[in-house]
Symmetry: C2
Subunit: 215 residues, 2 copies
Amino acid sequence: MAPRSAKRSGVLELAVLGLLDQSPMHGYELRKRLSGVLGTFHAISYGSLYPCLKDLVARGWLVEDGEGEPTGLSGKRARIVYRLTAEGKEHFQQLIAEAGPDTWEDERFGVRLAFFGRTEASVRMRILEGRRSRLEERLDTLRQSLARSRERLDSYTLELQQHGLDSVEREVRWLDELIASERDASTTTKKSGAPTGQPVTTTSGAGNYPTAHGE
Amino acid sequence: MAPRSAKRSGVLELAVLGLLDQSPMHGYELRKRLSGVLGTFHAISYGSLYPCLKDLVARGWLVEDGEGEPTGLSGKRARIVYRLTAEGKEHFQQLIAEAGPDTWEDERFGVRLAFFGRTEASVRMRILEGRRSRLEERLDTLRQSLARSRERLDSYTLELQQHGLDSVEREVRWLDELIASERDASTTTKKSGAPTGQPVTTTSGAGNYPTAHGE
DNA sequence: GCCTACATGTAAATAGTTACATGATTGA
DNA sequence: TCAATCATGTAACTATTTACATGTAGGC
């Protein structure tokens, strides 16, 4: 085993590996795409990204290429294209094969879902159902606390809390749709003997995916 | 002016001041209520809260009381009840009178809304509308990026992004309701000469308040 | 010639959590 | 008496942003 210099983030690391697993890229491009899979509305800062890339290189999961062949006469440099190594690919596969309790927590669930296309069906299901029961748990707490304090709160606070509750309920319904279409896909696959465990899009454009209302 | 030892957080600070403005409380109780106004689903940790309280005391906005009168025979201590000072009250009033661009950003909007009951009507309106146009801006970016990359993305990533979009759209609709009921309230007040600028609850339980899907 | 977007990076500050340490009170 | 919940706190660590520093490429 490597000497465990550990340290680096978790979600960001996973997101970067996942994007580079699709295709090599330089940091600037990577940053633009990260918001898509991280689901955080503001882009990650370079102050986070570059140190992370450096770290991944140091751990042997990434290598830096000096931007392909010098196109024509320009010979421009400056860009550093990052690419997964064999170990990097293997490591990423290992990461997306995990289905532990933290995979369905707020911070990770989004990225994991974004990479479901490369995740095994059984793992996908475990994460979706884990997420669902996590939210159900949250609903219990929220409803209880709302029931306890309903008359003490003014209408604005109430509106805020009610909204939070609605958001979680909505995410549960969304998950139900996703889970249902996973089941459909797996039974259809078994019956018809279709070759891949490829994703099936839910029919409606409904459902949503809120998590927090502040921050 | 005080020597600016500054340092402390912002949202957490505001939330603590707002809760203590309603009634004095000890730290443990405070923590429980904080999740309600911070809208963060996991409670804030003591490792954040106590240092923050200490800081607020140091800046003269809070004082520590040693739990009222010793009830009957017990004379139990240990609990430290925090209470706003006159300067603390004034400072809080100043904070909730602000309506700058950061007030409608993700981190602050929730807390500000939670304290709308003590916020002037014009400020409330400015914040709600600021938030609304901020989200509209977000929708533009999101729609554009989704349009650009639609065919490149697999169905899961698409589902994720679509969900994020839906969530923001839903928050806009919710804000529209809140804004409408603010307008109603202000015209009714003017016409009937009702005494307070007190909040009016929206009729439906609809609307939601999502912001981020990961994290 | 200048401005905008592209592109990479570092140091310091900021925000917050986790793990630990301690002890009182309440109810089964 | 034992466990759970109440209650307060600190030190170390984790994650992330902001501000700065630097330079290139392309359009007007």
